[in-house]
């Protein structure tokens, strides 16, 4: 049932001047973040978390959702212009987008990327809005033991699909679990695992953790690369002249409509991939591109055709809305960015669970409306600023890296005015750097960090109900047993079959 009163309130909040401005700021910043090679949507959202904390709920959502959508599209700009995807999500766009640029059709490719992104994003948001409340009705029937096993299943899936190497994914998840136990236990609030450091008794805050993990660690890696070699700078200098060869040929309505099949393939694949924990926009784009290529071999994908750009861009942007489905339905984020969106709302006192639709209807309706209208903002901003974003990729790393490090440091301090958050951010930055170098994925860490209190509380509630009997606490219903079997099966199957190896080979091909 639609709560009309809440819907009206959400509409008035979202269409207030402040929220609209923050959506615009988010999309504009996101386009820039996406276009800058080295920065991802997750890094951008992480850097904005301290700011989101200071804003009203709807404005914070507008900023973050807008930034996320802008960044996923923005990655295509440098992919098309310089064959250097701003984010990994746009790597598939290079194949046809850059080939079009070399033919003097760069502007056409940029417009195709924008329209395909917005079309698939908008339609997948509609699917999200319809599907999430229906799935949440089922999820409200879950008890503590089912919720515990759901978390375990989601983490298994995320660890299995976050990288080629299952044990690295699991190590990352276990690390997130451990970091979440620092502070105090979630039921008795008794201090634990603080290493005798008093300021750790409050636990590790999400904002410094994700700024360290996604922004600082990335910049440390970029810094080392820059100090060790100047190849990247040289490459950009060589490609600078290509900006002038983008051409002025636009995209006609007929050409846009001609790509409907590729956009639909992108929509279906992107939406499905987005709903599954761990896969992400890059997999959505490559799968969509490969399927579209198989379906229409006569279109000569890879030689610079707009259908290739449409398939890749619709495939990655269609994951944006659906990636929120596990968060909305189960309270379990399916990706790093979804975890950060959930974290931003947790800072505002909104805790995601299947009951969130009843407990916070205004927020949920606001989220849905923002998902839709930020697509139109993305369309307008993308059309106006695409060429400016393309030039952003030429910004010298010597200026960009210290600037982002400064913002990360000041942002993590400004979040609560606590110097200890700065220490945590810098420490996690080093940890994240080591994880990047050794190929350990970060998504399982941040998602597990966020859901561990839920899992621990669920398990302990189940233990209280079963009076300390572990077997009946863990397996009190056929659904609990089923979820346990799924969690074990996901881990064993992904280890034995190496499903991700095949997906990665697909990306490398």
């Amino acid at each position: 049932m639609i709560n009309l009163e809440a819907l009206y309130e959400a509409l008035s909040v979202v269409f207030s001047f402040g929220t609209k401005i923050w959506i615009l700021v988010g999309v504009t910043l996101g386009g820039g973040v996406g276009a800058l090679p080295g920065l991802s949507a997750t890094s951008g959202v992480a850097l904005m978390l301290p700011l989101a904390f200071t804003l009203p709920q709807a404005s914070a959502l507008g900023l973050i959702i807008g930034l996320y959508k802008g960044a996923v599209y923005g990655g295509s700009i440098s992919a098309i212009t310089f064959a250097t995807p701003g984010t990994p999500d746009s790597a598939a766009t290079v194949l046809d987008g850059y080939a079009m640029t070399k033919q003097g059709l760069g502007r056409k490719a940029l417009l195709m990327a924008l329209y395909a992104s917005v079309t698939a994003d908008l339609l997948s948001d509609v699917i999200t809005i319809v599907a999430a409340p229906l799935l949440a009705i089922v999820a409200t029937e879950f008890g503590p033991s089912e919720r515990f096993w759901l978390v375990v299943t989601a983490i298994s899936l995320l660890s299995a699909l976050s990288g080629k190497h299952l044990f690295k994914g699991l190590l990352s998840a276990a690390l997130g679990f451990y970091l979440a136990t620092i502070g105090s236990d979630p039921i008795g609030a008794v201090s634990r695992n603080t290493f005798g450091i008093w300021w750790l008794s409050g636990g590790i805050e999400l904002a410094p953790l994700v700024i360290g993990l996604f922004a600082m660690a990335t910049m440390l890696e970029e810094l080392v690369n820059l100090l060790k070699t100047s190849e990247r700078v040289q490459a950009y200098k060589e490609k600078f002249g290509q900006l002038l060869t983008l051409g002025s040929e636009g995209l006609s309505l007929r050409e846009y409509l001609r790509t409907w099949k590729e956009m639909m393939i992108g929509l279906v694949i992107g939406t499905t991939v987005g709903m599954l924990p761990g896969l992400g926009a890059a997999v959505g784009a490559f799968l969509s591109y490969s399927v579209a290529k198989q379906v229409s071999p006569h279109k000569k994908f890879g030689t610079g055709v707009i259908e290739g750009v449409a398939a890749a861009e619709s495939g990655n942007n269609a994951t944006v809305g659906p990636t929120l489905v596990p968060l909305l339905v189960l309270g379990i984020p399916g990706s790093s960015t979804a975890a950060l969106i959930g974290g931003a709302l947790m800072m505002h006192g909104v805790h995601f669970s299947p009951q969130v639709f009843v407990a916070h209807p205004v927020i949920i309706y606001s989220l849905f409306i923002i998902l839709i209208i930020s697509n139109f903002v993305n369309l307008g901003v993308g059309r106006v600023f695409a060429m400016i974003y393309a030039r952003l990729a030429l910004l010298p790393r010597a200026i960009l890296i210290p600037l982002i490090m400064t913002i990360a440091l000041v942002g993590s301090y400004a979040y609560r005015g606590s110097q200890y958050d700065v220490f945590i951010m810098l420490s996690v930055g080093i940890l994240g750097y080591i994880m990047r170098i050794t190929g350990i994925p970060m998504a399982p860490l941040v998602v597990t960090f966020l859901v561990t209190p839920l899992a621990e509380a669920s398990l302990r509630r189940a233990l209280i109900i079963s009076r300390g009997d572990w077997v009946s606490a863990l397996f009190d219903s056929p659904l609990s047993i089923g979820l346990c079997i799924v969690a074990v099966a996901v881990t064993v199957i992904s280890y034995r079959l190496g499903a991700l190896e095949r997906l990665q080979r697909l990306e490398e091909d």
Binding site: P50, L51, T54, L55, K164, H165, L166, F167, K168, L170, L171, A174, L175, F177, Y178, T181, I182, D185, I187, G188, V190, S191, R192, N193, L220, L223, V224, L226, L227, K228, P396, R397, A398, I399, P402, L403, M405, T406, I407, L409, V410, Y413, A414, G417, Q419, V422, L426, G429, I430, Y433, R436, I437, T438, G439, E456, R460, L463, I464, G468, Y495
Partner: protein, 164 residues
């Protein structure tokens, strides 16, 4: 990107997944031993769970995954970053982090507006921004831009001796 290590020497064992697993295992066993020596870990809570149960369970899981890294079928593989790593790979991040800590300490005394260009200009120059006056100009412009943004959104920032 994952690479096989057939061309690496035996002394490069630490660059492989097995090496990473061994380093993690040693660190995690030390952490586990530390946790077992803490009195708080044995405190029994009202619901019958000991306070140290979840931290120890997390470390035990990490140990299992580290053992997995040592023995699974990918144990000879590595990443291109590990293959190409040298002393700079490990020292530069530490130096950068120490510099940022020093910057933060300076900021608490001199404030954001004075300390930020003092950090940014030499770092930008060191990273390749040329000529020097361009690095100085970029540091001043970025300081003012970041300061204005943080002030407009009303977040706390160290003032130092300056009145703003």
């Amino acid at each position: 990107m994952t690479l096989r290590t057939s061309e690496l020497g035996w002394y490069d064992w630490w660059r492989t997944n097995r090496g990473v697993g061994i380093v993690f295992l040693v660190a995690l066993l030390t952490l586990l031993a530390y946790l077992f020596t803490r009195d708080w870990a044995y405190i029994k809570l009202r619901d019958g769970i000991r306070l140290g149960f979840f931290p120890i369970a997390a470390v035990a899981l990490m140990i299992l995954t580290a053992v997995g890294l040592i023995f699974d079928r990918h144990h000879r593989e590595t990443t291109s970053e590990m293959v190409n790593s040298d002393w700079r790979t490990w020292c530069y991040p530490v130096i950068a982090t120490a510099t940022l800590l020093a910057y933060f300490w300076t900021m608490t005394i001199l404030g954001f507006v004075i300390s930020t260009p003092i950090l940014l200009a030499p770092v930008m120059y060191l990273l390749g921004a040329r000529p020097l006056r361009a690095a100085i100009a970029a540091s001043l412009i970025t300081t003012v831009a970041v300061y204005v943004v943080f002030r407009v959104i009303g977040t706390s920032i160290h003032q130092g001796p300056l009145p703003f």
